[in-house]
Symmetry: C2
Subunit: 238 residues, 2 copies
């Protein structure tokens, strides 16, 4: 049975301040954990209710009731592990980088990390107001992709001032992305779910692009930031 | 104060059988409700905790506690309404149609409905095993787009056998969508989150297309069905 101390130590990793002080984050589910074990990330503790699942790693066998006491999921998924938060690597200022300006929804950030992985975007820059990528809900939504994308939380204004690459901001009624020539070396900026890109960031962006709407005049007024990211990345890579 | 009967009548609309027997579905939040009120859908009851919100419609003023007792959201959003489920219109067998084979996640279906609205896809065909589009979580994710897309639940095999349009199935390792000429008249088929398109459906599809992966060999093994839909629709419309 898990001690009260262990339960407290793990569940408080739901809070960013404890993730920072411990240098750890939580991953759940066999598929996500297996992908992270296969990556360069370092596992700290691995708990499972099924001893047949992880025969190549040291694990602690626990009861379903114990798993429920440390899980962040409504329906716990047979295994939970803690991994060390990696130190972020400095940018090489090359290739295609995605930059997020205060994206708040963990599901959106997780989906965007998975899209970066799919489209071979090695670096993701997050403004300091963007949801923490080691939030358990983000980890869940990345499906293991978090191990393959280098994510840095920095001052977005400073980053955009310093990059030598062309920057592309995504807005509602700007240049049609389908008619814009897109380079291999670029920074693609997406904004907050409700407010878009802040005006002080917009002022730093040399190019402003949009996905045209094909529906009726009364069609939906915007696309979700994660689906918009998928279309922009597809356009940069196709 | 709401009567026990009213609370029961509304909360059981979370179940498909009661939505069918009552012919009603639930929408929540000012933005979603306002979009549906502005559409051709017929409102049945409108409850709100803020009398200043809906001055052009008849509403029932309730307390936040009452709203909590009928809401399907963790954080209720000031208003809840019931609308009549519209009768679905028969297909014209023209233009671009999206067809879903057993998509189960309400958030994915809601996002796909919103994408159909954005890309001017007027008809969405759902296999009988696809999650019900009047599920409260789907309605929430559509952000009002449900009123602008004609959604039909039918036998997908029968539909594909009868359509005169070219059908395009989406798979993992088939023809590169970026190198495929896509017509204006087509049926685009997407499959279940875990299992993709069923083999009996696949046998009926004349074209099989894929989004190529640009990341490393060890990159994420698949895209979420909603993000894949956004990229395929973008390719059909660009």
């Amino acid at each position: 049975m898990l001690s009260k101390n262990t339960i407290k130590r793990i569940t408080r990793l739901g809070q960013k301040k404890y993730r920072i002080s411990e240098g750890l984050f939580v991953a759940e589910g066999v598929k996500v954990i297996q992908e992270l074990l296969d990556s360069c990330l370092e596992v700290q503790e691995l708990y499972t209710t099924d001893e047949t699942l992880f025969n190549t790693h040291t694990f602690i066998s626990i009861s379903p009731k114990d798993l429920k006491s440390i899980s962040f999921l409504t329906t716990p998924q047979k295994a939970l592990a803690t991994f060390k938060i990696p130190t972020s690597v400095h940018s090489m200022d090359e290739g295609l980088t995605v930059a997020l300006d205060n994206v708040r929804d963990p599901g959106n950030l997780g989906t965007i990390i998975r899209l970066c992985d799919w489209f071979g975007v090695e670096e993701l820059i997050c403004s300091e107001g963007t949801v923490d990528c080691y939030n358990p809900k983000v980890i869940q939504a990345t499906m293991g992709s978090i191990a393959r994308v280098n994510i840095r939380y920095i001052n977005l204004e400073g980053f955009l001032k310093e990059t030598s690459r062309a920057s592309y901001g995504t807005f509602m009624n700007e240049d049609n992305v389908y008619e814009t020539a897109l380079p291999n070396e670029a920074v693609l900026v997406l904004g907050n779910e409700a407010n878009g890109i802040r005006s002080e960031i917009k002022a730093l962006l040399k190019n402003q692009i949009s996905i045209p709407r094909f529906g009726a005049i009364k069609a939906t007024e915007s696309l979700n930031v994660a689906t918009a990211t998928s279309i922009f990345l597809s356009e940069f890579r196709r």
